[in-house]
């Protein structure tokens, strides 16, 4: 089986070369899109913990993204004159988001399904409205001139040279986001297979039975909210540093719905599926842009507003996928676990019961 390492190597090279190739083929704005796709991937992976693993429908997930983004924006900008470094703000954003996750989780523990969805939606809106109306967050104008992400002396927004390769800032962010996405994937994978992951699965499937098995469902649900929120907070911190500007308009319910779509469309609870869903949905609206031009070329006139047309096509694509593949684009395969390796040999013993010397 030398194929796996080979494939892995090829994939690694492809992923590392992606920004260069994208830039050459499609232009710099597409590299920026890749960066955003990775931010969305982190968000989708975080929401996957809440929705995919623990089965808690959260329609206000963008709130945690906002919490992380505003933390960085406020403490690393001229806004109040503080310029804390990333290594403080990244864990800080993760922790603060986790706290907000628990804050959302605590009052909603008894709720399920659609009721939970409504409350979480309200939570998301409350956060956005707070950000819009508070003075410390600079209200609807948002916060500008946010410090670019910097680690030590290395500024991610600057152009660097490495072995004669010119690496613009937008590539640096790509590699940073890629690394963190990989880290989040690995953490998610560990969580899924852990005792906690199995407990979340049980809660998702049947809560009463899970409690009868001795699972403290309250704590486990709080943990799911907090863990999911953590990744949202991390993504938010990165977003603020990358974008250099945040305003409440970046954190509308539409965003929450979009992230949920990524999780569901890709394949709830399955990491590869969630990644695929996030990247596809982040890129699709952009990919539909040329179609608007096509309209003008074909009909000589613009009948449909290009932005609306784009979203219309996007919606059609979403609906098509959900009709054709309701389980998601890349659902989790039937899991074969080595749980029972030890029983396999015992399986044959009952059949061997009749004694060989039966003539007696």
């Amino acid at each position: 089986m030398k194929l796996r390492p080979l494939l892995f190597g090829l994939a690694l090279v492809a992923v590392l070369a992606l920004p260069f190739l994208t830039d050459l083929a499609l232009g710099r704005s597409w590299v920026r899109l890749l960066d955003f796709a990775l931010l969305y991937a982190m968000l989708a992976l975080g929401l996957n913990i809440v929705v995919g693993y623990a089965g808690l429908l959260d329609l206000g997930y963008v709130a945690f993204y906002a919490v992380g983004a505003y933390l960085y924006a406020m403490l690393a900008s001229p806004h109040i004159g503080m310029h804390l470094p990333l290594w403080v703000l990244l864990p800080g954003g993760a922790l603060l988001a986790a706290a907000f996750g628990a804050l959302l989780g605590a009052p909603t523990l008894g709720l399920r399904g659609d009721y939970l969805a409504i409350v979480t939606m309200g939570f998301g809106e409350i956060i956005r409205i707070f950000l819009r109306n508070l003075n410390v967050t600079n209200g609807p104008a948002g916060i500008d001139l946010i410090d670019p992400i910097q680690l030590g002396n290395f500024s991610f927004s600057a152009t660097h040279r490495l072995f004669g390769l010119v690496i613009p800032g937008i590539y640096n962010y790509y590699f940073l986001f890629l690394g963190l996405t990989v880290l989040i994937v690995l953490m998610s994978r560990r969580l899924e297979g852990s005792r906690i992951g199995r407990a979340w699965a049980a809660i998702r499937e049947d809560e009463i039975a899970a409690r009868a098995m001795g699972l403290n469902t309250k704590n486990l649900k709080l943990l799911a909210f907090a863990m999911g929120a953590t990744f949202g907070g991390i993504s938010g911190v990165l977003f603020a540093g990358f974008q250099g500007f945040v305003s409440p308009e970046s954190f509308t319910m539409n965003e929450s719905v979009m992230i949920l779509c990524m999780v569901v469309l890709g394949g709830m609870g399955h990491l590869n599926g969630v990644l695929l869903g996030a990247i596809l949905l982040a890129i699709l609206p952009e990919a539909f842009r040329p179609l608007a031009q096509l309209q003008q070329q074909t009909f000589g006139e613009v009948y449909l507003d290009p932005a609306s047309l784009r979203m219309l096509l996007f919606a059609v694509a979403l609906i098509a996928v959900m009709i054709l593949r309701p389980e998601g684009l890349w659902p989790s395969p039937v899991r074969k676990r080595e749980l029972h390796a030890s029983e396999e040999d015992n399986a044959s013993t009952p059949d061997a019961d009749p004694a060989p010397g039966g003539a007696a």
Partner: protein, 237 residues
């Protein structure tokens, strides 16, 4: 004989309705006791109070010398009481094996868990055949076996079974009752809450008959089967 479960003066209210109006009930160590009654007699409310899913309005519930009133559901199994919920409650998208392993969630003795898993496969051959299958693909009867096996994986001192025959084909019901009987014969204490009175009485040693929120009759199962009132009301004779 010592009482493992002892209920006295239990009252359960649902909103304004008094579903259970002060009942006494005891299950001795090693006994298979059944609680039967018509729909709405208060059986399920009683069981929910025992399992901590409903808070009783009054009365005592003592299990192995400890009060169960106010104890959260997830603490029950740690104290030796396993609930097999109504409608079976298997985890449909987990495999049979994963379901069984969830039953042992509170245990830390890896060797003992594996040994018990094998014991369950011995007890329920169907589950062994289907161990890698998703529980949701099992038949109703197999799911019930799985639910019972899963509860036993927690090494409880007592099983609380809520309507195990519900929605099962008659042949499967017989099988399930046989399984419960067998589990009881191995020394497990069982409280069987059941609407199918005939079956429950055939399996159990003692029975409580509930009517309008009260225990109207209690005796050995055999005596219940022979009692003209029980026969008329619950056995359709």
């Amino acid at each position: 004989m010592s009482a493992l479960l002892e209920v006295s003066g239990l009252e359960v209210h649902y909103g304004g309705i008094q579903a259970v109006k002060g009942i006494d009930l005891r299950v001795n160590q090693g006994e298979l006791v059944t609680l039967i009654g018509a729909n709405g007699a208060g059986k399920t409310s009683t069981l929910k109070a025992l399992a901590g899913l409903l808070r009783p309005a009054a009365g005592q519930i003592r299990f192995a010398g400890q009060s169960l009133v106010g104890m959260p559901v997830h603490q029950l199994i740690r104290n030796g009481l396993a609930l097999v919920p109504e409608g079976r409650g298997v985890f449909p998208r987990l495999t049979v094996a994963e379901n069984l392993m969830m039953g042992a969630y509170v245990r830390r003795d890896a060797d003992g868990i594996i040994a018990d898993l094998e014991r369950m496969y011995g007890l329920f051959e169907r589950l062994h055949e289907r161990r890698e299958q998703k529980a949701g693909t099992l038949s109703g009867g197999e799911q019930q076996m799985l639910a019972i096996g899963r509860a036993l994986m927690g090494r409880p001192r007592m099983l609380l079974l809520d309507e195990p025959s519900m929605g099962l084909a008659p042949l499967m019901v017989q099988k399930i009752i046989g399984v419960i009987r067998q589990v009881a014969n191995e020394g497990m204490t069982v409280l069987l809450v059941e609407q199918n009175a005939r079956l429950a009485l055939q399996a159990a040693e003692r029975a409580y008959v509930m009517e309008g929120g009260r225990i109207s009759f209690e005796d050995t199962a055999q005596a219940c089967l022979n009692d003209p009132r029980v026969r008329a009301a619950y056995l359709g004779e």
